[in-house]
């Protein structure tokens, strides 16, 4: 499996209080990769590094097989980018903006762009500064997709938008991906939104990659176990304990990662009594994972995480 984006020990310190710390990110080609993290985790900084907008202090970045920033122009010609905040020239009209953008991309699909703008109801003569947040989002995604990119990088593209516009934008993206098989790298702190569309997920917190794995594994692998009496040898579990809480009744609730049904046998061998195994939705799993990472647990970085689930 090749990677559309790959960083090795990527390090960047934009200020005294924040450090992007030895980031090893791998976005498989063809994946829709959700880049999750709370506000201030470093998602936008990572994206800017990946697109060569910032220069890393250490480590390496490869995007679409090309090193960044040394060959970033080749990468940008094949990448559609929708930043967190509108970046277009606000004094241009929708039509002028389309023509300006078109001039830089050899693979530009003008009929598609025109049709998509019409479908989105964006009048050609409207000034960009007069567009609502939703309309601006529609314009930015249209311009990014009309480039016919192999990689689409979306930085919180639906943040602050109403559900109808959010759905329209995500539909446009998914339609394109299904046609072209492009890779999508989408950052967000809206966990539920990514749950629906992504097949890979990476979780970033305070500049560290806490987890990176297929979405299905992420959703299935994190469970809440309710014990009437907990097993012995807690430090030798075949799964990872993210959180552990003792209730008044003496029973215990564990949030674990890497749980498999056959591990019930291990619990029984350790003289534990398991009352219930609860599924966590992605948001709960995300919160538990972050709590664990921040609480000095053992965050798993990179894919070796999956070894615990085997």
């Amino acid at each position: 499996m090749t990677n559309a984006i790959e960083t090795k020990d990527l390090t960047y310190r934009p200020g005294k209080s924040f450090l992007l710390d030895h980031l090893n990110l791998r976005v498989p080609t063809g994946a829709i990769y959700g880049f999750l993290g709370p506000n201030g985790a470093g998602k936008t900084t990572t994206i800017r590094l990946v697109l060569g907008l910032l220069k890393p202090e250490a480590g390496s970045i490869a995007v679409l097989g090309k090193p960044v920033p040394s060959r970033v122009r080749e990468v940008l010609a094949r990448t559609g980018y929708v930043p967190e905040r509108p970046h277009l020239h606000l004094s241009l009209t929708v039509e002028e903006s389309r023509r300006f953008h078109r001039a830089f991309y050899p693979g530009w699909d003008d009929p598609w762009a025109t049709e998509q703008l019409r479908r989105f109801g964006l009048e050609p003569n409207r000034l960009l500064r007069q567009l609502s947040k939703g309309e601006m989002g529609k314009l930015m995604i249209t311009l990014a997709l009309a480039q016919r990119p192999e990689l689409l990088v979306l930085d919180e593209p639906t943040d602050g938008l109403d559900p109808v516009v959010r759905r329209e934008l995500l539909s446009a993206m998914l339609e394109y991906v299904s046609e072209r098989g492009a890779t999508v790298f989408i950052s967000s702190h809206l966990v539920h939104e990514l749950e629906r569309v992504c097949d890979w997920v990476g979780v970033l917190d305070r500049g560290r990659l806490v987890s990176e794995m297929p979405m299905q594994d992420f959703k299935n692998g994190i469970k809440r176990l309710v014990f009437t009496s907990p097993p012995h040898l807690v430090d030798q579990t075949p799964f990872q304990i993210l959180a552990r809480e003792t209730l008044d009744s003496g029973s215990e609730v564990w949030v674990v990662r890497g749980w498999q049904p056959d591990m019930v046998t291990w619990v029984l061998h350790q003289e534990g009594s398991l009352r219930e195994v609860q599924d966590l939705d992605l948001e709960e799993a995300f919160v538990e994972l972050l709590s664990s990472a921040r609480g000095g647990g053992a965050p798993n970085v990179g894919r070796p995480t999956m070894a615990a689930m085997a």
Binding site: L51, L53, Y81, H89
Partner: protein, 214 residues
């Protein structure tokens, strides 16, 4: 690509370009207004000299304002758009710079046409010669120089612009304080001389800007 960038710069600077072109067209015509055949060479030259200051001022203002308008939108978007386009940074900056130079041809054309018309309207006294094309060329070079200098400053970060403006403000403040305290000392004159007297880089702005001369 160049056409796209030229268009944006035209859109952002078209009002000031229109005004500069009109002003450039009008100044030579105004400068010869009222001059009749009865006036001698000295009066004509003196009269035209009074308008001579208007050309470098217009060149400086056009260069300054066009350079500012060239970068305002990019600064507002923190240059994210420009940097995310698949074009080398130096090439993007060069295209923005070249676009401004192309657009400065408009006020130059205004001056050239105005100067040609002005010299047709009056009877040129013997011994004086019209310099319409030279005047327009000098305007073009001055405007290009002002544009280049301000473009370089405004293309940098706000910090760079702040440092340049800060140094200028400190010099002026020191001069004002020194004058108020009664010190016989002029700090600005040597700076001005270094910049505007030969071999200073802005020497072209000074001297005689004459539509008619000997």
């Amino acid at each position: 690509m160049f056409k796209a960038i030229l268009f944006t710069q035209w859109k952002w600077g078209r009002l000031l370009l229109l005004l500069a072109t009109l002003a450039g067209f009008a100044i030579p015509l105004l400068s010869v207004q009222g001059l009749t055949t009865t006036y001698g060479n000295f009066y004509v030259v003196t009269s035209l000299q009074a308008f001579g200051i208007a050309y470098p001022l217009l060149a400086g203002a056009a260069g300054l304002l066009l350079s500012l308008s060239a970068w305002t939108s990019d600064h507002r978007g923190r240059h994210v758009y420009a940097l995310s386009l698949p074009v080398a940074r130096w090439r993007y900056v060069l295209m923005r710079y070249q676009s401004g130079l192309v657009l400065l041809l408009l006020p130059m054309l205004g001056i050239w046409l105005g100067a040609i018309l002005a010299t047709r309207f009056i009877h040129i006294p013997p011994g004086l010669h019209p310099y319409a094309s030279s005047l327009a060329l000098r305007f073009a070079l001055s405007a290009a120089l002002a544009y280049t200098a301000f473009f370089a400053i405004s293309s940098g970060t706000p910090r760079t612009a702040g440092i340049v403006l800060g140094i200028a403000a400190v010099l002026v403040a020191i001069q004002v304080l020194a004058s108020a305290a009664g010190f016989d000392f002029n700090l600005l004159k040597p700076v001005f001389d270094r910049l505007f007297i030969w071999p200073g880089p802005f020497e072209i702005f000074t001297g005689r800007w004459m539509l008619l001369d000997v």
